[in-house]
Symmetry: D2
Subunit: 333 residues, 4 copies
Amino acid sequence: MRFFSDNAALVHPKVMAAIAAANHVDNAYDGDRWSKRLEQVFSDLFERQVRCLWIATGTAANAIALSAMVRPYQGIVCHEEAHIEMDEAGAPGFYTGGAKLLLTPGAGAKLTPAAVQGRLSSIRGDVHQVQAAALSVTNATEYGLVYSADEVAALGALARRHNISFHMDGARFANAIVSAGCSPADMTWRSGVDALSFGFVKNGGMNAEALIFFNDPMADMAQYQRKQAGHLFSKGRFAAAQLLAMLDGDLWLHNARAANAAAALIGEAAGERLLYPVEANEVFLRLTAAEAATLRTAGFDFYDWGDEAARIVTSWHHDVDDVRPLASAIAAL
Amino acid sequence: MRFFSDNAALVHPKVMAAIAAANHVDNAYDGDRWSKRLEQVFSDLFERQVRCLWIATGTAANAIALSAMVRPYQGIVCHEEAHIEMDEAGAPGFYTGGAKLLLTPGAGAKLTPAAVQGRLSSIRGDVHQVQAAALSVTNATEYGLVYSADEVAALGALARRHNISFHMDGARFANAIVSAGCSPADMTWRSGVDALSFGFVKNGGMNAEALIFFNDPMADMAQYQRKQAGHLFSKGRFAAAQLLAMLDGDLWLHNARAANAAAALIGEAAGERLLYPVEANEVFLRLTAAEAATLRTAGFDFYDWGDEAARIVTSWHHDVDDVRPLASAIAAL
Amino acid sequence: MRFFSDNAALVHPKVMAAIAAANHVDNAYDGDRWSKRLEQVFSDLFERQVRCLWIATGTAANAIALSAMVRPYQGIVCHEEAHIEMDEAGAPGFYTGGAKLLLTPGAGAKLTPAAVQGRLSSIRGDVHQVQAAALSVTNATEYGLVYSADEVAALGALARRHNISFHMDGARFANAIVSAGCSPADMTWRSGVDALSFGFVKNGGMNAEALIFFNDPMADMAQYQRKQAGHLFSKGRFAAAQLLAMLDGDLWLHNARAANAAAALIGEAAGERLLYPVEANEVFLRLTAAEAATLRTAGFDFYDWGDEAARIVTSWHHDVDDVRPLASAIAAL
Amino acid sequence: MRFFSDNAALVHPKVMAAIAAANHVDNAYDGDRWSKRLEQVFSDLFERQVRCLWIATGTAANAIALSAMVRPYQGIVCHEEAHIEMDEAGAPGFYTGGAKLLLTPGAGAKLTPAAVQGRLSSIRGDVHQVQAAALSVTNATEYGLVYSADEVAALGALARRHNISFHMDGARFANAIVSAGCSPADMTWRSGVDALSFGFVKNGGMNAEALIFFNDPMADMAQYQRKQAGHLFSKGRFAAAQLLAMLDGDLWLHNARAANAAAALIGEAAGERLLYPVEANEVFLRLTAAEAATLRTAGFDFYDWGDEAARIVTSWHHDVDDVRPLASAIAAL
């Protein structure tokens, strides 16, 4: 059984069905009836008017959001292990025409107001240094930790004080919401977030994320930038339909609950081995090479994380029965 | 019946089935078994080793190809009504970091060696003017004309003499191949083409084009650029599966033949009204506002093309029986 | 005697003296006492508070001004023979990260409101086409014609109606002011101009132009962009001192008057040969190859302008006595 | 007496004289007789054919060199306190269209092969991470340390093994050469350097650095990039004349010797207070706030370096007699 990545996981059957059901002649790009429903559906979810653009990947969603926030000579405060720094091939620099990521430390890839303030204070306020114009956090983080709405609000307040924009990379936003138990509104705009990369692909989608703006001028820019970057699908209805299916009947929450529960079960089995508390759908645990080999021999696949640890990622289709054998195998090590 | 755009058309059922069949857990990005088959399948088609990257849109395919050919201070010779100039939101400028399109006239959006030579000769060879580093042609053109392999070869020879790269925007490559009756190899690399944006979305695909390189260093660059631009789907197997389905049993040719035949039927009915010979799947015809209204009242939709003309685009699912009523209505005007 | 270009001309002795006089230890970059005086001096000249950045070249001044006005997916309306299009190596595209020049025709490289309106109206208002966000005019134009303050105001009103920014390339602003006989304020901000590239190098300076902003947010952006582009001299006092010397005692007007007068004299001699009226310091005249050879044999150098014409450019150091022999030689042809 | 920065220092009288002597009508841009002599003069200095472009600032020299080495999706290994990272406003990101600086630690801002190898090894070799394509070192470093030719050669060999380009920021190259006692050739191309930002402004120049290429294709690119970035002065002779004056009679070495000697004298006086050995023209020393105040009261100005230290920079015009009072004051603390 594979626990490599939620990227590799299955597309949910309801999403598959929605894609199939969208195969009608309709207007091109985002002029179709599916795309046109998006803003209403997401506005309902977020309890206010929002702007919503479908977009194929989280990397594009992040980079387009950030390009609406900073100029080429400005910078984006983010964690030193943030996905935008580590795994997006320099996309923010490309999309912004040269802006810099201003790396900030923090346990479990989580930023605190103190750490962000420290990073901001380290910048001389002259034209020779790159001035911060945005803050980007990932929720859930790269290590599966979850910011509460209050923690987000504290960062949002700091961003406002410094007059910088606030972006949330929500590749695993669903897992974070399930874990935090708060509303999407509290987790985002009520806490000062201007733009959210709302991930669906890791959570049962195929190739559509939602880029949500709580800020109209940014959304206007992003609409052009999406097209200029070649991200405006000509048959956008197949993207919109995925998002609608995910929101329908709260499938996104249902799926995230399953993945989180599976991770929690593994986390309990891992006990003292855990490198981080298990708050979403990722488990980082200490594992010797021999132990890793034992698990692999038993049919479980996952990433090594350095020499003495491993990363296990659960997905919406890993139900508790599925992961129990892995949990037992870990407990038995 | 709608003849707006082949962008708006249906996805072919075999492509739909292939997408559904790809819903297995597999490696992420382009590490899956579908993606890994692509280069072999396209190499067979092109009768030589090629490099192939799936990519969501023609705009992205074009821009990424061009960004592997030119530097920010260089230029791309193209037709003044080329899609990259008129309808891609400045994507080539964005992807190249500032390179300029060097616009060149030509009837029916078709370039001749003389026109290209004239454009090149108009550039002073100093650092103050933007020097050409690439030539881009569209086959079939924006007006539905088709370059023969010989015509492409004449442009390719010119490009080689001037030491510039050669890109073909093949959003309707299938229609061009069917019309020209030559091999994909003769139409491209044997005629000097370095990179081809091989379109499938207008021809029955959903959201996957193929970016084909006959040049390894360019392909290496494009692979990174695709990721940096956020175009590397995390579940790439659903893109690759579309391309494999389109090539399987020559579905791409089958579909293009249907669209071309439908356009030909309309073209015959249009007779003297035609603005351009009908060589692919587009018909441009003179039509007064009253005549256009008549056709629309009869249930046919299409784009106005300026004040006194219209554009009718046929798709793979317009079989000859489908379009006969439109042909008759035009003939009856 | 050389009439190639005012670029090649001498630096005025007063500018030379000011440079020598600035050789004192002082603060680096633009923190020195010369740089600090600039905004006051230019604010006096323009009869309102302005922002002023010294910058080495007209190309940089233009590109930095434009980069504060447009996003990568937007466009700049300019004449199809504007310097930014023809002779700046694609600088606007590079500085803006991909924005496009929207070329517009007009006799003598001059834009009319009708021509600009026509160009704007040709753009479909969707995300697929590059939307205009700025208008750039050159005064005096590339053919030595001068916009009156009223003509500028008509363009400025049009720009405001379309909510686009307005830039003036004033590489020969001094010659335009002398010719138009209006105030710098009337020629610029009172007519809707947001930013002016105020040229001094062609008019007796060495390597300092003034980039003037009548718009604070743009000036703020430009200050960072100048540094990021490597244009913030570490010993900026030598740039500022040039500008101060040029403004002192209206040297800039004195020099432009001399150049304009010299051109006028040649223009009178050229009579029927003139391609354009002589309004600033450039003379374009019909000249056969044989006639050009005759003039060159007599010791006069200038650029051929195509096959049957020539461009003669006068400079501040061409006083009337200097150019009389050329005028006579032309009259004698 | 001011010891803030060699940026703020005087222009050497011989450079001033050379500028004055260049005030003749000549060809524009770099077509004049001074610019045309540069490559010969620098080729003599470097004992091989080199390419040389004058350029106004070190920031521009560095950024243009790097833009000829990397693509937007690639990275540049440099020290985490390198000038290109700390004080150039993100210029490398802007010029390269998004490339990233890959920060590497090292005492005294000096890189070792082991540290560079460690940074390179930390990068996964896939398209998701930014791959290194260049290495940039600063000699003398930001803390006034000097790489020997052997140390450079070890880094050059490493760069070659990894197939990455090698850039040297030589803002204080003269001070490094004087300190290391080796030839410019040994310090650069014989040790694998592809491009050198050869600084003159800090060493008695006004506004001209030399960008030296030991690699023709890079130089070809840089020539266009310099123009596109607006760095091609229209009266380039005044830049070229500065460089010729600095090389004439080895003025550059003479000046650097004076600055280094002045720093050495202060360094000896500082003794145990030194944070780094004094190898060039910078002295970093521990200094309490009270001690700093004492020195300032005595008429000496310098930068605080954090809370408990100071940076003193000597210039070509600080001869030993000039700095003796400062040395005595430090010794007396």
